[in-house]
């Protein structure tokens, strides 16, 4: 699903050159649920942005679903983002003046799905995250957990192959975090690849594979030991 070879990325800030990713090699197969861990500044968000074609990279290769993603035009990138990838952000990033169902339906607007049809589909996805009763509410009338579930519904509506979540529980309390994680697990079980960036150990432990990032390189990879669950 995701194949990264010798990926380099640096930012230029004024006279300084900040080398963020220093040769990443990573292979995520379809249906995996992976977490990327690392302290702040380790490059994990940058890696996620590159995976999500929100950012470009300097050197190396990135394949998504077998397709080389390099130097795409903005239009092409938008198309891939829309069709292949669903985003979930720490701060939800819902559109404030749109209600829940309109927010969920938005990706389909960019696929030219007629309004009635896309709102109907959006309702189905709202139901799936258990929020169909809140369809007419705007984000500021909803709790953090509800907002994140709406964001997840929005990420799912275009039936992507890959869900990218950037600290999806960072703004949530532990109870709602667990609910959101349950949801991710459910999504993963339906066959969608899930990549979660987090710095919380108990979040990453719920995933099937943990990738530790440190100063722009992958430090080690490990699968959580089953025994941990019984500790």
């Amino acid at each position: 699903m995701v194949n990264i070879k010798e990926l380099h990325k640096s930012y230029i800030t004024g006279a300084n050159r900040l080398h963020v990713l220093k040769g990443i090699n990573l292979n995520i197969i379809e249906g995996e649920m992976v977490s990327i861990m690392g302290s702040s500044g380790s490059g994990k968000s940058t890696l996620l942005n590159i995976l999500g074609i929100l950012d470009n990279y300097d050197k190396g290769e990135l394949y998504l679903n077998g397709q080389l993603i390099k130097d795409l035009s903005e239009k092409k990138a938008a198309w891939y983002r829309n069709k292949m990838i669903g985003f979930v952000f720490q701060s939800f990033n819902l559109i404030g003046f749109k209600n829940a169902v309109e927010n969920v339906a938005l990706p389909l607007y960019y696929q030219n799905v007629p309004r009635k049809k896309r709102n109907k589909i959006a309702m189905e996805y709202l139901e799936r995250v258990g929020l169909s009763d809140w369809a007419g509410h705007t984000p500021n009338e909803l709790s953090g957990g509800q907002k994140q579930r709406i964001a997840i519904a929005r990420a799912l509506i275009s039936q992507p192959k890959l869900i990218l979540a950037d600290e999806p529980t960072g703004a949530l309390d532990s109870q709602t975090s667990l609910e959101v994680l349950d949801l991710f697990e459910e999504i993963n079980n339906s066959g969608i690849t899930v990549v979660i960036v987090t710095h919380e150990k108990d979040i990453s432990e719920r995933t099937k594979r943990i990738i530790h990032l440190r100063d722009g390189v992958i430090e080690n990879e490990n699968k959580p030991k089953p025994s941990l669950k019984y500790v």
Binding site: L54, R81, N82, S91, K98, Y109, Y110
Partner: protein, 408 residues
């Protein structure tokens, strides 16, 4: 891009940000409103003044004055009197003079009576051509003709007011009215755009020379020039003046000996003046409109800035740069079009109201905007909307999602 979804998308955005939408609209509304008022008023002013030129606007008037220069052995201060033979002389010398006529304005108020009704009117003795010069509109009967002149018929055509005031409801044709106690047969009734000329009677000049003013003097000499440019008509008038100067033996350079008024020249002068005024008014209006458009552009820039995050989100979930440009430009076009249309409507309504309520005067009448100009302005507004949205839209399309979505 013009499918129904984008309308719904833009309209719902506008509805949810109503105050912003209204404030943005107002600047454009105001621009178009002022443009319409200015153009309409300019037009009203033009109509008012040009109305005074509703006689044949290619006519030339000549009248005798007093010499201010000694010439050919004559002292200055000599009266120059035009006579019947001057008309014939000009008629023979210049083939292009049309509707050549001599006229006498009978001095003083002339009492005209019919049965027991009488009033004072202006009576003018003319040749038939003068009726064209005055742009007389016949509403009943016939105009004076050359036979009336040649056969010294005591006939008259009377103004609409004269008919209403002394003939009341009677059919005027075939009735005799007394002009200074002399009966004249009414052969026609006329209308004229100038209200004061409706209290007037025209009689054949030959009759006047037999009855009221014996001799062959004429007061003014008039003719019209078809298809002449201002320069051509001016040079012809100059030629005519020289011929008359030669005939009456005064200095052709004498400004006081022969008065003349060339309607075409004055008409063109006025026309040029009003074209100038219109251009000025239009330019002012356009600048007001530009201020409105810059206002829209400015507000759209703020809107884009305000919506940076939203646009970032849209891009992250698949909005192409083109769709973002479309979103902003479309919103801009919708706002300017609706506001512009309302401005157009209000401006034109106000002008119509003014036109209805305000009495027409010599300086202002029928303010209004040409339909074509209104349509042009409407199209201009749509174009302006696109223009106003362009810079902000381009800015919006260059927003990078990762920058927009960075947590602050």
């Amino acid at each position: 891009m013009f499918e129904i979804s984008i309308w719904q998308e833009v309209l719902s955005t506008m509805r949810k940000n109503l105050l912003r939408t209204i404030l943005t609209s107002f600047s454009v509304f105001w621009g178009i409103f002022i443009l319409m008022i200015l153009l309409g008023s300019g037009n009203g002013l033009k109509e008012g003044v040009m109305h005074n030129f509703s006689d044949a606007n290619n006519c030339v008037w000549l009248w005798g004055g007093r010499t201010s220069k000694a010439y050919g052995g004559f002292n200055k201060g000599r009266k120059i009197q035009l006579k019947n033979d001057d008309i014939q002389f000009l008629g023979h010398s210049y083939e292009n003079l049309e509707n050549l006529s001599g006229n006498i304005n009978l001095p003083g108020a002339i009492t005209v009576s019919y049965k027991n009704n009488y009033d004072n009117y202006n009576v003018q003795a003319i040749l038939p051509g003068h009726q064209a010069t005055e742009n007389v509109q016949l509403i009943q009967g016939r105009l004076l003709n050359i036979l009336d002149i040649e056969q010294y018929r005591k006939v008259t055509i009377i103004g609409k007011d004269v008919k209403e005031q002394i003939l009341k409801d009677e059919d005027p044709i075939g009735k005799y009215v007394n002009i200074r106690e002399i009966p004249f047969l009414v052969v026609g009734v006329f209308d004229d755009i100038h209200p004061n000329e409706l209290k007037r009677l025209y009689i054949p000049i030959s009759v006047a020379h037999k009855t009221f003013i014996p001799g062959s003097n004429i007061g003014t000499l008039t003719f019209t020039l078809d298809d002449y440019s201002v320069d051509e008509s001016e040079s012809l008038v100059e030629e005519v003046k020289q011929s008359i100067a030669l005939k009456h033996r005064f200095d052709a350079e004498d400004p006081r000996a022969l008065g003349n008024w060339n309607a075409l020249k004055e008409y063109k002068k006025m026309q040029a003046l009003f074209n100038g005024i219109n251009v000025f008014v239009g330019v002012m209006g356009i600048f007001t409109l530009i201020a409105g458009i810059v206002g829209v552009s400015n507000i759209m820039l703020i809107v884009v800035r305000e919506r940076t995050k939203e646009i970032g989100i849209r891009k992250a979930i698949g909005a192409t740069p083109g769709s973002v440009v479309g979103l902003i430009i479309f919103e801009s076009i919708i706002i300017t079009s609706i506001a512009g249309y309302l401005g157009l409507l209000c401006g034109i309504s106000l002008l119509e109201l003014l036109a209805g309520k305000m009495p027409a005067s010599d300086f202002f009448r029928n303010p209004g905007v040409d339909f074509r100009i209104a349509v042009g302005a409407a199209l201009l507004v749509v174009f302006a909307g696109a223009l106003a949205g362009f810079v902000p839209a381009r800015k919006a399309s260059r927003i990078k999602p990762i920058v927009a979505l960075r947590d602050e």
